[in-house]
């Protein structure tokens, strides 16, 4: 199968899988609530418990057996914070009760963490499974190269990639650490680690946004959809055809990845800034929404990136493009035939410089080059 095609398909599949998983889990599921054994049931009428019950009922469920005393609170509850006043000036001070926090908690504990974690593991498993599939090189190396990315583009990509990986790591620590790391490391270590993760996450977030903006402007013109891409889509990316389909600088799969990264990146940035500057947000509901959007986009983006990294590492010649900026001419011919033709026409195919050493070594055979140069004169 054509590599680029597989690249695109895996990414699309991963995204669909993500969406299905989330769609399958009812957001306001209350069912699991019932299974939970109360911590310590109190038989006596308990004012705290009553208030609590009232809150739960307002959360959307049918009123259960209503204690007459709860009615006292109804007055308060119905007023919510519309006309309430308080001497306290802190956030949400006038809102006496806000049930959405509890819904958020349920969503987080019962859907986001288990399903999100499963999705991440599933993506990893798919990638690990695929890495056992033996792949033959799809082109033979030549001594001609084409410049694919200029240095600012490379820097833009890696600045975004680097900050994204750091954010992913620290973010996952905050989301899943309590259930995975904490039992292993103990509270003291995990607390310092989580604090470091949080501070690092906070600080690197804006760097990711900065990188995303730069990245967007660097790559957007190459990711505009072309009629070729609709052909690509219609023929399922050439999955069942022998010859790879025509592709320009980027194929449809890569363009899809770009736009998804931009989409999730914007979602992450906007929600991330909302969380960072939550003291400026008007109410708690927005904060809750922001954290949910943030977590869901992050998990989906990480799944995409897992696929992206796998494709880049497992496809011969691809890492060259994003580390040195140069690609083998045959690589371009195989995967990006249209672009290859353009480059060929413009005369941008050049010979590999023999002495360009990748290991930053100082031992460069200059003599050969100078001989080459002087030979002509």
């Amino acid at each position: 199968m054509n590599v680029a095609v597989r690249h695109g398909l895996i990414q699309i599949l991963v995204v669909i899988a993500c969406l299905l998983l989330f769609a399958g889990s009812p957001v306001h599921a209350q069912s699991s609530q019932d299974d939970k054994a109360p911590v310590s049931p109190i038989d006596v009428p308990n004012p705290g418990a009553e208030l609590w019950n009232a809150v739960r009922e307002r959360g959307g469920a049918e009123p259960t057996q209503q204690h007459p005393l709860t009615a006292i609170w109804e007055d308060v509850l119905q007023q919510q914070d519309t006309a309430a006043k308080s001497q306290a000036r802190s956030a949400d001070a006038t809102s006496m009760i806000n049930a959405s926090g509890d819904q958020w908690r349920q969503l987080r504990r019962e859907q986001l963490i288990p399903y999100g974690g499963a999705l991440l593991l599933l993506s990893l498993a798919i990638v690990i499974g695929l890495s056992f599939v033996k792949r033959t090189a799809h082109y033979s190396e030549s001594d001609m190269i084409i410049r694919r990315f200029k240095v600012p583009s490379l820097v833009g990509h890696w600045l975004m990639a680097g900050s994204m990986l750091f954010l992913a790591f620290t973010g996952l620590v905050l989301l899943f650490g309590r259930f995975t790391l904490l039992p292993l490391t103990g509270s003291d270590f995990f607390s310092a680690f989580a604090s470091a993760s949080k501070e690092g996450h906070d600080l690197f977030g804006p760097i990711f946004t900065f990188a995303l903006i730069i990245f967007f402007f660097q790559f957007v013109s190459k990711n505009m959809l072309h009629y070729r891409d609709f052909v690509w889509m219609a023929r399922l990316g050439g999955l069942f055809e022998k010859k790879p389909l025509k592709a320009g600088f980027f194929n449809f799969g890569e363009k899809t990845l770009f736009w998804l990264v931009i989409f999730f990146g914007i979602a992450l940035s906007v929600s991330g800034f909302a969380i960072l500057f939550q003291n400026l947000l008007p109410g708690r509901d927005l904060m809750l929404l922001a954290t949910l959007v943030h977590a869901v986009s992050a998990i989906l983006l990480i799944c995409l990136v897992i696929g992206h990294i796998f494709m880049a590492l497992s496809t011969k010649g691809t890492m060259d493009a994003i580390t040195t900026g140069d690609v083998d001419a045959n690589w371009a011919k195989a995967d990006h035939s249209v672009w290859y033709e353009q480059m060929k026409e413009a005369g941008h195919i050049r010979k590999r410089i023999a002495h360009a050493s990748d290991d930053a070594g100082k031992e460069i055979p200059v003599a050969e080059v100078s001989a080459e140069q002087t030979g002509a004169s």
């Binding site: 240095v151 820097v155 890696w158 680097g162 470091a196 501070e199 600080l203 040195t324 900026g325």
Partner: protein
Amino acid sequence: MFTDFIDGPFWTFSVSVFAIGVIWRLISIIRLGVPGDLAVPREDGGAGGMRTILSRFMARPAVRKRALLIVVAGYMFHVGLFALLFFAQPHIDFYVDRFGVPAWAGMPRWLFILTAEIAFAGLIMAWLYRVMHPVTRMLSGIGEHTASWLVFFVMLTGCLALLEQYDSLRVLHFFLAELLLIYFPFSSLMHTFTFAFSRNYTGATMGRRGVDA
């Protein structure tokens, strides 16, 4: 135990290595001497040296046009790091505590954070440029990468310890900063000081010829 060592003897050691090393390096440069210039100067060399020390803080348009990325990244990192080193409140408190100097005004918290963001983005971009650009990739050796990563980790641990609550994080930051201090005199990080020498030598020579170098 570890904390006491890092915060005690090791700190004294690293500061001493830094101070003695830097002074030794500078003296060994000056000791080599500069040959005099017998040509009748157009302008005063001293003024030229001073002018170049200052004027090279601005990148020339000729190079700014061609290498915008590294110029911008360089500015972001250097200005950011300078501000963090000398105007971040925790650092000022530290200097006051350790060296008994009178306190000076620090940056407000929001500016502190913003500066850290800028410095980080600059450092990462500069390092990426180093490994991505064929020229810098060829030129850079282990020394440059060590220096970049050491500075990065010092900054990173500093920002991880932003909550200023965990001693372990503070000590980690402190320890890496001490390693940096020790590494400093033996590396091209010395350009922090020798840049003035170099600019002065060049500026003086060119100044005598009437060129604003």
